[in-house]
Symmetry: C2
Subunit: 201 residues, 2 copies
């Protein structure tokens, strides 16, 4: 069985997005490209981490990472990523409302799960087989999985910025010992990989 | 003129101390040695950073880093560090009450400053000459200096733990671009060195 991993691009002060996320600002106000510049400006220098991020056999994501809104699904909305999302694997989207499975170009299939984080993870594990399951975000979803001790390996991609406000990683997670696995850096990012709660390799 | 530096031992979730700091728990509850283990268990592996931390020509620290309490100074209290504090240099202690200068064994002299962070820094710069001035803590004091853009070089010593609560670094500092200077890690800590606001080398 693979690991449960989580890759998060994060500011030095622990934010994964600015305030007021929405269709015009998917990462919130005042964030711009500050958290993700390393992906676009140094793709070769960060190729190992980018490949690892995209190698999972299945993904889990929160309601707000898939799209804006809170109520019933807007059936016109098929995610932020256009016709061919970058997952190329089953993606289990958490939410409170049923929706039919959505098959996209390039192998991404969005499954809508109403049974909570454990059910979503179990379904993702079954879909991933021997490969890893990645908890893709956002922060609220990651924090729930961390608090439940369901993530094995946390990979923080720390961008050189303080955001000061926004969506904070680790809120509500509580005291947790981490096990250092690897540290690597390029000009625009520091990659910190930790095992969580002693479960990771 | 030297730089204004700041070394902070910090958890991955950005805390420099747990809640309820006091004489029996100078770093707060539930923290134990988690933030500082690298200093005691791996002094040789971290010798470069420890030497750099201790090399400043003068230090500035907040009221609560010098000792517990909030009102007039308790003249019996001479700091947490015993007769020979580890600074071996002038230390400018922020506070709201006058107190006579305190000369300790080994070259540490505590000066009590009531004129605020800029006055304390100016006096420390004058005392340090060509050497660096170090803002020693705690978090509230560091956050004030960061917000005022008075720190040139921020050196975070990131311990592999989430604390979940306590005294948070960066509260109130606001959006700040950082310039990566260096990254180094040992088995028990990751050292991240950043220039702040473009002022550092």
């Amino acid at each position: 069985m693979g690991k449960v991993t989580c890759d998060m691009a994060v500011s030095v002060d622990g934010f994964v997005a600015g305030p007021n996320q929405g269709p015009d600002a998917p990462f919130g106000e005042d964030v711009g490209t500050s958290l993700h510049r390393w992906m676009f400006e140094e793709p070769e220098a960060n190729a190992a981490e980018l490949a690892e991020m995209n190698s999972a056999g299945a993904f889990v994501m929160g309601r707000n990472m898939f799209g804006p809104g809170r109520g019933e699904w807007d059936l016109e909305w098929t995610g932020w990523w256009g016709a061919e999302p970058p997952y190329h694997a089953p993606v289990f989207v958490l939410g409170h409302h049923e929706r039919a499975t959505l098959e996209m170009t390039g192998g991404t299939t969005f499954h809508f799960v109403t049974g909570g984080i454990v059910e979503a993870l179990e379904r993702a594990r079954a879909a991933a087989g021997d490969r890893n399951v990645a908890v893709a975000g956002g922060a609220a979803t990651v924090n729930q999985y961390l608090a439940a001790r369901l993530i094995d390996e946390l990979r923080l991609h720390v961008a050189p910025v303080l955001l000061g406000r926004g969506e904070r990683l680790f809120d509500g997670v509580g005291r947790t010992d981490l096990t250092p696995i690897a540290v690597r850096h390029t000009a625009s990012v520091t990659h910190l990989c930790y095992g969580v709660g002693g479960r990771a390799a």
